[in-house]
């Protein structure tokens, strides 16, 4: 037997020398491919079930981290885009502007490829989780099995609805069929919402598990699903998905705008960038409120977890978060201001001073928001500061100050939007003066009230501040938005347009600012994914299933930021690929049907929809 083996090896060596390095290369390649199997094999203990598996060099945790983050980002994208598309379709349906319908259709087209890519990453994630974390997956399956079945059924229904919605677009354009198509779009979002909240229940249960009483499988799954952070995360994520969808649309429009060759293309992508940024900002204004509610629920569930997040080793993370949100607010406002300057001729001079004032307020607010307070400091550092908090900065670093400035930033951004909305229009209604005075008073009073509550917050116990003052600040800002938006809409209904909006005149930096906004949102999602996972510290399921693997630690921010940047880069490339694939056919169509040189194209390449001028062909004849 040994001789046989020796002969086999000798034959192999001889063969390798005869065929050069090819065979040897194959053997080495096969050996390398088999390495993970060896590692898996080495981990298998005959006595006890395997709890963890690993892969060499990269590490199982890093692989799961990247795949899970990409899946989550893609999921946010495919859940955000249908909302975005459906709103655009409804706007076209009610308002009669066809370009919105075309925009909705083109974004829905992305869904088929984006949806399959998301499912692909979901599948990979599931396989990897089963392979790397069998103990945890076994535990979660035991609790959540009934919801797995519901999840699968929802996927089937969602897929069928998506097919009907996408393939029936042209066939269901008019009359009752259009109404049915709108209903399909609604159902698409309805099912998507449930597809989102079911996995949310698994993830939130890991962070905030509840006691699961004895009972049927369904009762146990329901008890675990209805955990304290489930709904705050659901609401937070649905708003974040709208923001992501809007800003990605904006970024796409920005890139296409930069590479546009014809005036029509520039018109169209400028307009698309405006729509994307608008929807992104619309969601962004509500996002901090949802985030505040989530954080409040975390504190109520377990103070230690809240403190680990806000005052423990993750405290610096929130400074980074403030920086990213600050850049996002600045980027969104900057885009509005560029719009006022370049799209509405003559407005630049009129609005220069308010824009400058808003920029100063935003920068000051950002400076306060980024002021650290409760940081883990060594004894030496604390001694140098003269205590656990910095004597000067500590005053601005407290939650009372941060809540105040975040509300002020929302107010300023809202003002930017209103300013953009009103630019180039002259009020004609008789009650316009009174309405404008009321709106001005509301804004000023709200700003003062937010600041007073913020300052007062220093002198009351934390519980009163959290329960009453901060909530009041949030309600005041929401009240402002709910009052001023309909008033402005009513006012502008009868207003006279003094300056027509000119599309396609934005400078290239507008396109880059749209890209920057999208990157900030993606980075924020990756950052908060790390925060949510790290808040569980060394637990798979907080306080219940302990992480006993070699990866039961949370890496420092520097290392984590590398993974976040990597995920952001991969996600951007995947989305670019999806856009490229989805619009390839249109480009080919345009190429084959393109008119002779010098003539205007009959349709817009890639993203159809064209400019507003293309909605009125009769006007273009003259």
């Amino acid at each position: 037997m040994q001789q046989d083996q020796g002969g086999w090896i000798q034959r192999l060596l001889r063969s390798s020398s005869e065929h050069g390095g090819a065979l040897l290369g194959l053997v080495i390649a096969a050996g390398l491919l088999g390495l993970p199997a060896l590692v898996f094999g080495a981990d298998v203990a005959p006595a006890a079930p395997t709890e963890y598996r690993d892969i060499p060099y990269v590490g199982s945790r890093n692989v799961i981290w990247v795949i899970a983050q990409l899946h989550l980002l893609l999921a946010g994208f495919v859940l955000g885009v249908p909302m975005f598309a459906w709103v655009c379709e409804v706007v076209a349906w009610r308002g009669g502007e066809k370009r919105y319908d075309k925009l909705a259709k083109e974004f829905t087209k992305l869904l088929t490829s984006a949806y399959s890519t998301t499912a692909l990453f979901g599948g990979i994630l599931l396989f990897l989780l089963i392979a790397f974390y069998p103990k945890l997956m076994n535990y979660l399956t035991d609790i959540f099995f009934p919801s797995f079945i519901v999840y699968c059924i929802l996927f089937l229904v969602e897929t069928a609805t998506l097919y009907l919605y996408w393939y029936g677009w042209d066939a269901m354009q008019y009359g009752g069929k259009k109404t049915f198509h709108i209903f399909l779009g609604f159902m698409l979002n309805f099912f998507a919402f449930f597809i989102m909240i079911i996995p949310n229940s698994w993830a939130t249960f890991q962070s905030s598990p509840v006691v699961i009483a004895e009972g049927t499988d369904l009762a146990r799954a329901w008890a675990a699903t209805w955990n304290p952070t489930w709904w705050p995360v659901n609401i937070h994520r649905i708003i974040a998905n709208v923001v992501l969808g809007g800003y990605i649309c904006g970024a796409y429009a920005g890139i296409r705008y930069l590479s546009a060759k014809t005036p029509e293309e520039r018109d169209h992508y400028d307009w698309m960038g405006y729509v994307g940024n608008f929807i992104g900002v619309f969601g962004l204004l509500a996002l901090p409120f949802a985030g505040y509610w989530l954080m409040r629920e975390i504190y109520q569930y377990n103070q230690q977890m809240g403190i680990t997040l806000m005052g423990g080793f993750l405290s610096w993370l929130f400074i980074l978060q403030a920086m990213l949100i600050g850049v996002l607010f600045l980027g969104s406002n900057y885009y509005f201001w560029l719009g006022i300057t370049y799209r509405i001729p003559g407005s630049a001079l009129k609005y220069r001073r308010p824009m400058l004032a808003m920029l100063v307020v935003l920068l000051l607010c950002l400076a306060v928001w980024m002021t650290p307070h409760s940081l883990v400091a060594s004894l030496e550092e604390a001694a140098k500061m003269g205590g656990s908090h910095h004597p000067l900065l500590g005053v601005l670093g407290v939650m009372s100050a941060k809540m105040t400035v975040s509300n002020l930033m929302i107010l300023v951004t809202f003002m930017s939007f209103i300013m953009y909305w009103r630019a180039g229009k002259q009020d004609t209604a008789g009650w316009a003066k009174v309405a404008k005075a009321i709106m001005g008073a509301i804004l000023v009073l709200a700003g003062i009230a937010v600041i007073i509550l913020g300052v007062w917050g220093y002198f009351v116990p934390a519980i009163i501040r959290i329960n009453y003052f901060s909530t009041s600040q949030v309600l005041i800002v929401i009240g402002v938005m709910l009052t001023i938006t309909p008033l402005t809409a009513l006012l502008l209904k009868s207003a006279k347009t003094t300056t027509e909006m000119v599309w396609g005149k934005m400078p290239p930096r507008a396109g880059y600012s749209l890209v920057l906004n999208a990157v900030m949102v993606i980075l924020l999602m990756t950052l908060m994914g790390y925060a949510r996972s790290s808040s569980r510290v060394h637990w798979h399921v907080y306080g219940v299933v302990r992480d006993t693997s070699q990866y039961a630690f949370s890496p420092a921010l520097g290392y984590a930021s590398g993974i976040m940047a990597l995920c952001t880069f991969f996600f951007c490339m995947i989305v670019a690929f999806i856009f490229w694939v989805a619009t390839m056919g249109d480009k080919a169509k345009v190429a084959t049907t393109s008119p002779s040189k010098g003539e205007l194209p009959h349709g817009m390449p890639a993203m159809a929809g064209a400019s507003s001028a293309l909605d009125k062909p009769e006007e273009r004849k003259f």
Binding site: I255, Q303, V515, F553, L557, A560
Partner: protein
């Protein structure tokens, strides 16, 4: 070269590549990638500029009964647990602090009996202690004391006793816990420390 320095070098290279792309390439898509590289590189550099703290799982303090000869040995173990596995220092201070999330524990070992301390750690809501040393109403704290003998902290009886020994020592009190009271592995655990005889919930006032 430290890991942070190595990562900073990588980030600078990424930012540099981005700048070179923007300077020398005219095609839009590569330029956008260059821009993305600059943004991501700057983000990483910022993240590397803040203090680098990893969250390590708590070290399982080996409670070797054989090494505990005196109450002082017990207090030394208690001090380690106070600042690590017990997570006490996450909320409590030893010495006054206006922004403390929870009561100051300076001198607590002298003020409260060991039985009361044990109960406060294991059944924090059973007997609420309100401190009237402040002017006006008792100070309210945002954080609520968790049961320290349950997960996620889950201290054992021996560990809790050692923390109490530390609190007494830190308050200048003689340590009232004798190493002979500790549970010995393999033997039936001793009865829990009896708390003050009281109803399920009461309020104590320190005047």
């Amino acid at each position: 070269m430290s890991e942070v320095a190595r990562l900073q070098l990588i980030c600078l290279s990424v930012v540099g590549c981005g700048i070179l792309i923007l300077l020398f390439i005219k095609s839009v898509f590569p330029r956008v990638i260059g821009f993305l590289a600059i943004v991501l590189g700057l983000f990483m550099l910022t993240a590397l500029a803040v203090p680098q703290m990893a969250s390590l799982p708590p070290v399982e303090e080996k409670f070797d009964i054989a090494t505990v000869k005196t109450p002082t040995d017990l207090a030394a173990i208690g001090q380690k647990i106070f600042f690590s596995k017990g997570q006490c220092a996450l909320c409590h201070t030893i010495g006054p602090s206006e922004s403390a999330r929870c009561p100051d524990l300076k001198g607590i070992g002298a003020k409260l009996s060991r039985e009361f301390l044990y109960e406060s750690l294991t059944q924090p809501q059973a007997y609420i202690y309100q401190d009237y040393r402040h002017e006006g109403l008792p100070k309210m704290y945002p954080a609520e004391m968790p049961a320290i003998n349950k997960n996620p902290i889950g201290l054992s009886r021996n560990e809790i006793l050692s923390v109490i020994a530390f609190l007494q020592q830190m308050s200048g009190e003689p340590i009232s816990i004798n190493p002979s009271e500790l549970d010995v592995p393999g033997q039936a655990p001793a009865a829990p420390v009896k708390a003050a005889q009281s109803g399920p919930m009461a309020v104590a006032q320190a005047h």
